[in-house]
């Protein structure tokens, strides 16, 4: 199966500034893909090339196996980080306009818009001017405008900013529903909880270059430090244990936490077996790195390399 989007050796230059430096990536169909990177890394430049807002200086973009062209515009939905709608236009009219700009017929656009108004329970907003809505309400309208034409590929730049937790969940559920119906989702975000919770693949861009690429599982594996954490009822007596702990017997909520770093040939089973004889075990788990840690680690290392 073709990836929904594939970029090959993209370069983009703004004057003397190289915004994208040889970026190649594949976004698998049906994935929830995280595009990560510090501010100014080149994420927006990459998205603007995929959405055909600008063109790359070198390299090519394939959409569903074809060289990208204006025919694909209607199959992509894009929610930019800088939200924007016409302040003095009516909500319903605006959504119709955006849907038609994506190539929908007026009748279909009307039907789809009405469906969304019912689904998100905002029927009485149709004739309101956008400036009468609160920021969170406007964000909802913006989200609808992004997906109104039922795109196969949805690019969401910080989709949850500006939402309270309740509406944030509403939008998350809508995104997951669209994903379940077959859409591929690209998140560009700094919120690592979104990545942990939703993404199946990520790419990390830093200083215009791709520095990390893969499924979340593989990346977590790649960055695991083989540190295991054990929770015990009583403190462990290390005089009787043949393992060197990283941290020992930290008391927390009435339990004791100890972590061990395992060598290449050591198995967690052996460790657990030895501890069980020594103390009452309550919990045992591997300490996997969070994407937060991975992000910070990779970006910091990259900075040191350039310094």
């Amino acid at each position: 199966m073709n990836p929904i989007v594939e970029t090959k050796n993209l370069y983009k230059r703004y004057g003397d500034f190289l915004a994208l430096d040889n970026v190649s990536l594949k976004i698998p169909k049906g994935s929830i893909f995280g595009l990560l990177g510090p501010n100014g890394a080149g994420k927006t430049s990459l998205i603007r090339i995929i959405t055909q807002i600008t063109a790359a200086d070198q390299g090519e973009v394939l959409f569903d196996g074809e060289k990208i062209n204006p025919k694909h515009i209607g199959r992509i939905g894009y929610l930019p980080e800088e939200r924007g709608l016409y302040k003095k236009s009516k909500v319903g009219e605006q959504l119709l306009y955006f849907a038609q700009l994506k190539g929908m017929s007026k009748e279909l656009a009307l039907e789809k818009t009405k469906n969304w108004f019912i689904r998100l329970d905002i029927k009485d907003w149709w004739n309101k001017n956008l400036e009468e809505l609160s920021k969170g309400m406007a964000q909802k309208v913006q989200f609808i405008s992004t997906v109104i034409h039922e795109p196969e590929f949805i690019i969401l730049d910080e989709p949850f900013s500006g939402f309270d937790p309740v509406n944030s969940d509403v939008i998350r559920d809508e995104i997951l529903r669209l994903h379940a119906n077959g859409a591929t989702i690209l998140f560009s975000t700094h919120r690592m909880d979104t990545v942990e919770e939703l993404c199946s693949h990520i790419v990390l861009i830093d200083k215009s270059k791709k520095v990390l690429d893969g499924s979340t599982k593989d990346i977590k594996n790649q960055f695991r430090k083989h540190i295991f954490q054990v929770q015990t009822q009583d403190s462990i007596d290390f005089t009787k244990l043949p393992w060197q702990p990283e941290k020992m017997n930290e008391e927390k909520d009435g339990y004791f936490q100890t972590s061990f770093k395992l060598g290449e040939n050591q198995s967690p089973n052996e460790l657990l077996g030895d501890i069980i004889q020594n103390a009452q075990v309550i919990g045992f788990q591997e300490q996997l790195p969070s994407f937060h840690d991975i992000f910070v680690q990779v970006v910091t290392q990259n900075q040191e390399k350039h310094a």
Binding site: R48, Q52, P80, K88, F98, G103
Partner: protein, 431 residues
């Protein structure tokens, strides 16, 4: 193509439905009607009779000053100071005219006393009458019959003829001047009014950040052209409505306010206000001359230069709107655009005096000035090749500025929070 139509539709409808548009469209003709009808109405009402007491110290003018519908002269023999009091008591519509001693050869001292200043027209008409009486006295004393002199007062009126392939045609410098100037001025207004409407529209989309959403669906160039065409239609709609409403309102207003006045009476009134018969004849001649202007030819040229000028400039206005973040910065970049427009309208005075000069030729070829300058020259019927050359240059100029503006627009609309310099703009051209 379908999308650009959608954009044009939105740009058009969103503007035409605005309150400001409706108010301006309704107020425009009212203002126009006000300017044309109200002065005529006031003039027609202002027919109160002014009485002028005359103290003629030499007795030469008795019976020579003619009363008419608005003024009556009463010759009195009272003392000046006593008469002054009478005049003061009588109020606004009573004046005292004192003509000093003269034997007809010396210039008498003439004074007017009244509660308030008499109008300039009245003063002038009295001056004229006294002058001509003095002239008559002097002519008679030299043994010349004044009636003879009256008859040998020639006034020639040069008729201009244009030599063309179809033979001689009646030319009409005065009519050409009026038509050319009017058309040039309309183009000037249109470019400024609707060019800046394009600019604010672009700035609004940029500052609202809606532009990124739209250009992920259409090309920036399509968005720019859609806006320019949409606004042009708004402008044409407004002009058409103004024209229709002005015509209607003026007709209705004339019927209501001037209903007891027949046209002849109005023209009589005009001639009574210092315009002599010959001038009035000339005015009628001018209206005849207006008809001699080749209407189809002028209208075709007007539409071409009107739209060409607007399209060329509105693309530049769009580029400025895209480059800046706020109104203050916009001023800085508008300056180089407005200079050629304002220069054209200033030069219009010179061009109209010498519509076939070298300067007139070059400015009517250069695309930034040609819409106004060529339109001023058009009624003077310059050689066809010049008009065609000017049109071709305008089309090329339009393509050039649109290309240039499109480049700046494309980069500018996505550029936020940066103080833009001309150097920066130049860099954008190469992105």
């Amino acid at each position: 193509m379908h999308k650009i139509l959608l954009i044009i539709e939105r740009e058009y409808l969103s503007r035409v439905r605005k309150k400001a548009f409706i108010i301006m469209t309704l107020l425009g003709p009212l203002l126009f009607a006000g300017i044309t009808v109200i002065p005529a109405w006031l003039a027609s009402r202002d027919s109160s009779l002014t009485t002028i007491s005359v103290i003629d110290q030499s007795g030469l003018f008795e019976g020579k000053l003619k009363s008419n519908a608005e003024t009556t002269f009463q010759f009195v023999k009272t003392e000046i100071d006593k008469e002054k009091k009478t005049v003061q008591e009588a109020g606004d519509h009573h004046l005292l005219l004192v003509i000093g001693q003269t034997d007809g050869k010396t210039i008498p001292a003439v004074q007017i006393f009244g509660e308030s200043n008499p109008g300039l027209d009245l003063v002038q008409s009295i001056e004229n009458q006294i002058n001509s009486e003095l002239k008559n006295i002097q002519l008679k004393s030299s043994g010349i019959d004044p009636a003879l002199v009256e008859n040998i007062n020639p006034e020639i009126d040069i008729q201009t003829k244009v030599l063309s392939e179809e033979g001689e045609k009646d030319g009409s410098s005065a009519a050409a001047t009026a038509v050319g100037f009017g058309a040039g001025f309309l183009i000037y207004i249109f470019i400024f009014l609707y060019g800046s409407m394009v600019m604010t529209g672009v700035m609004e989309e940029k500052t609202n950040r809606v532009v990124e959403v739209i250009i992920s669906s259409v090309k920036p160039f399509e968005l720019m052209m859609g806006k320019i065409v949409g606004v042009a239609l708004v402008g044409l709609t407004q002009f058409a409505l103004w024209l229709a409403l002005s015509y209607g309102i003026t007709a209705v207003a004339s019927a209501v306010f001037l209903k007891d006045k027949k046209p002849q009476e109005i023209s009589q009134q005009l001639s009574a206000q210092g315009m002599d018969q010959q001038k009035a004849m000339k005015k009628i001649g001018f209206l005849e001359e207006l008809k001699s202007v080749n209407v189809t030819y002028v209208v075709v040229c007007f539409l071409f230069f009107f739209l060409g000028g607007y399209l060329l400039y509105s693309a530049l206005f769009a580029a400025v709107g895209a480059a800046v973040d706020n109104q203050q910065d916009a001023q800085q970049f508008m300056l180089p655009i407005t200079i050629p427009i304002i220069a054209s309208i200033v030069m219009a005075q010179l061009i109209i005096k010498e519509p076939n000069s070298n300067m007139a030729f070059w400015f009517s070829i250069f695309p930034l000035t040609s819409p106004i300058i060529m339109m001023i020259r058009v009624p003077f019927e310059p050689p066809l090749w010049q008009i065609l050359l000017s049109m071709v240059c305008l089309i090329l100029g339009f393509l050039g500025t649109t290309w240039f503006a499109g480049k700046i627009y494309r980069v500018g609309i996505l550029m936020y929070g940066k103080k833009i310099t001309y150097k920066e703009l130049w860099k954008w051209m190469r992105y």
